[in-house]
């Protein structure tokens, strides 16, 4: 290697963004504790950690949303002040989990959002289109700049956001779980864009719960745990297990499958149809059985769960729980018949954020803890304490507001609510979505234990490994129909994906 080459490599790897000694706390929580983090030019730095490790806080700080209590962030020597517009000025752009676009505006207008070119004070549409098209051409040549953002797929919306970052000449691009709602080909396309940006010297911060993706794309890995920096290492020095050990500070045990005896039919769905959503769906789930429900996002899985649970009405067909028909559009009836639902979006659909952990656990049990309409505080406390212990919910107290818990512990609260009712059928919709590795394996083990105890389980999941390791049988959905029912022996990632996309 010549001297010139050494210098150029060294220069390439100079840190662009340096966060030094960052400390940040929120009421009751020390979110970041003296964390050092830097991002180098032309590199993808993966930022990893369990939920609640402090990733989001650090990202929000780099995006200018929060001010650090101590420490400072500099970009090319310029101190970042706590203000999103300052972040844009110094060259930090953030792509959030869900796109932040104005749906009614065109892709071009969104790319130039707030920086619309003007001439004599009037918007210059031509120049706007030109600049937007230039940026768009680099990341998504297939997109028409004048399409309203609201009509784009979430993958394309993300590309528009990246194009916005390019048009701003951003130096650092932060991607917060960008692949959550993308299909595999869309992920490939995104990663090609990332490689391209990297080769042109942009620095990328990549946050993901998917280690496979991290190993595909990252050059360096920084791990946080409990708000503290665990370390930063080149990806070449790491493997799967090492990363997980850094993240959780212990070994994660793979769940082991045991054969369970299967009992009577608990859930019987016959010819369930809802126009344009569900088409002639029939299947059964037996006691002690874990039935997986696979399919692409939008295939109708959550809609099926909503129909069974009585959230949404349906046009024809029937749902029987333990041989008794439950009426449509009445969640209470489904609950009384013995169904529990852990919905996909726990914050929107399951938890009352203002309420305590205790009240959230007993929310579906109010009838059981009260007599003549009056709540028994002692009974409520006893049930909450028992469930918190049983599921090892990590909470300072049963009176803590549920919104302050980490994602995994919030999910345990939702599970606790249903387990306390001892349902015959538990429907789990993406139960480990957005949950850290440690809590994920705890929840997997819990699902197996429940099935061993004779509960019927319908597990909706987009994570094939979860479906493959946990379930006895896999139903694959595609455009509102069940396209395949695969016994365990036939269920492989390949067969499931092929029925999900073409069956």
């Amino acid at each position: 290697m010549s001297v010139a080459e050494v210098i150029s490599v060294a220069e390439d790897l100079r840190p662009v963004l340096i966060a030094k000694g960052i400390t940040k706390s929120f009421p009751g929580v020390l979110a970041l504790d003296n964390v050092d983090f830097n991002v180098r030019a032309g590199e993808v730095t993966a930022l990893l950690g369990e939920n609640g490790a402090g990733k989001s806080t650090l990202i929000k700080m780099m995006a200018g949303f929060y001010a650090p209590d101590r420490g400072e962030i500099t970009v090319d020597g310029v101190v970042l002040s706590p203000d999103p517009s300052s972040a844009h000025r110094v060259g930090v752009a953030t792509i959030h989990q869900d796109a932040h676009l104005v749906p009614a505006m065109s892709a071009a207008e969104n790319i130039m959002l707030g920086r619309w070119p003007t001439r004599y004070g009037w918007l210059n549409k031509r120049l706007q289109k030109e600049r937007a098209a230039r940026a768009l051409a680099r990341v998504a040549p297939h997109l028409n700049p004048s399409t309203p953002a609201g009509r784009l797929s979430s993958a394309d919306q993300q590309l528009v956001e990246i194009a916005r970052a390019i048009s701003e000449d951003s130096k650092v691009l932060i991607m917060d779980e960008p692949t959550t709602s993308l299909s595999p080909p869309e992920i490939d396309r995104l990663f090609n864009v990332v490689e391209d940006l990297k080769s042109k010297g942009m620095s990328i911060v990549f946050v993901s719960h998917w280690l496979e993706e991290v190993f595909r794309i990252a050059d360096r890995v920084t791990v946080l745990r409990d708000g503290r920096l665990i370390g930063t290492r080149p990806i070449s020095e790491l493997d799967h297990d090492k990363v997980i050990r850094m993240m959780v500070g212990r070994e994660v045990r793979d769940t082991i499958l045991t054969k369970r005896p299967v009992g009577d039919v608990v859930l019987k769905v016959s010819k369930l149809t809802r126009e344009n959503v569900l088409e002639n769906i029939s299947f059964e789930v037996r006691a002690g059985e874990i039935v997986g429900m696979s399919g692409l996002v939008g295939a109708g899985r959550s809609e099926l769960a909503a129909a069974i649970f009585g959230i949404d009405p349906y046009d024809s067909g029937s749902v029987e729980i333990g041989g008794i028909a439950v009426s449509p559009n009445d969640p209470k009836a489904a609950i009384e018949a013995g169904v529990g639902l852990v919905p996909e979006d726990r914050r929107q659909q399951a938890l009352v954020g203002l309420m305590s952990v205790k009240s959230n656990i007993t929310l579906s049990l109010l009838d059981r803890i009260s007599s003549f309409g009056f709540l028994s505080m002692a009974k409520e406390q006893a049930i909450a304490d028992r469930e918190i212990r049983a599921l090892a919910v990590k909470t300072p107290s049963s009176k803590t507001r549920v919104s302050t818990l980490s994602g995994g512990n919030q999910q345990k609260v939702v599970l606790a609510r249903w387990l306390a009712r001892k349902p015959k059928l538990l429907i789990l919709d993406e139960p480990t979505k957005g949950i850290d590795v440690g809590a994920k394996s705890e929840i997997s083990e819990l699902i197996l234990r429940l099935a061993e105890g004779g509960m019927a389980i319908l597990l909706i999941s987009s994570e094939l490994p979860e479906i493959l390791t946990l379930t006895d049988r896999v139903l694959v959905m595609r455009s509102g129909r069940i396209s395949a029912s695969l016994p365990k022996e036939q269920a492989t990632a390949e067969t499931i994906m092929s029925f999900a996309t073409t069956g």
């Binding site: 929107q348 203002l354 309420m355 929310l363 309409g373 709540l375 505080m377």
Partner: protein, 348 residues
Amino acid sequence: MADRVPQSSGLSALRGRISFIDLVQSLGLMAIILLGGLIMTAMSPVFATVRNIENVLQSATIIAVVAIGQTFVILVAGIDLSVASVLVLSSVLAVGLVQFQGLSPEIAIILALCAGLGIGLVNGLAVTKLRIPPLIATLATMTIGRGMAYIYSGGTNIAPVPRIFIDLQASRFLGVPGVIVLTLVLAALAQIVLSRTQFGRSVYATGGNPLAARLAGIKTERVIIAAFMISGLMSAIAGLLITARFEAGAATAAQGLELAVIAAVVIGGVSLFGGEGNIGSMLLGVLLLGLVQNAVNLLNVPPNWDSVVSGLVIAAAAALDVYRRSYLEAGMRKKIIAKAARSTPKTS
């Protein structure tokens, strides 16, 4: 996760203090009230007399009773603008049904209360079944209700009132005016319902997250309808109180009362977004507003200025409350950092 235990236990004591904020919220309002009281005592010789204090409390009872009902509605993330109209309708019915229709006072009162419940039911059905936003639905019933009161009364106050109202106003219980005792009893009942019953818990859940509440098996539409009916009933009861106080079926009274009630409820810490608040501190909000009104009267503020002064106090109380909360949180944050710095050795 053994390595997490020391940290979380270190923080648990501090996290426990978050509920402390709620306590300080009430204490803060109480401090403002006491401070205001001290200033008024210094500025006006009349203020600190039993007579004046009793007067402040008595006039606060009407807003307080309406506010109790309004609290239920705001807790389910609604709003009820029809309360003042229900109040006057109940007042003219309670007097008019005796005078014009010759019913017995007891029946008249029961019918007046039913009118309140009925308008509450209409509000609730409009909001849940017709999905009309509460602001609009109750704006409609507010206009209709006031109109009906005018039509029924002929647009004037109806007097004299039946004896039972005179007795109510004159009644004393252990030396305390009966209307104050009645208000406190209603408040206590409401607090018990909210904190100790299945329905009360459902109110908080429905306001906090209606979808989650429904998915947990709560009939959220019924809860919302019930909240509006409680508001209607409470407003009708307040209508009886105002009848007793003015000794008339008061068709023209309580103009703009709905806004004063909403202001009091919000100052009292009930979140307009729903799901948060309690009757106790809500009553402090009512009391604060009552004191301001009293101060305006005692200090001879020119009549056209009194609503400006009231508005400024509302704004100041709200701003102070926001400031105090963020100050408390900041203080707690510093303590947490200091504690963490002392107890956790650096790991990397």
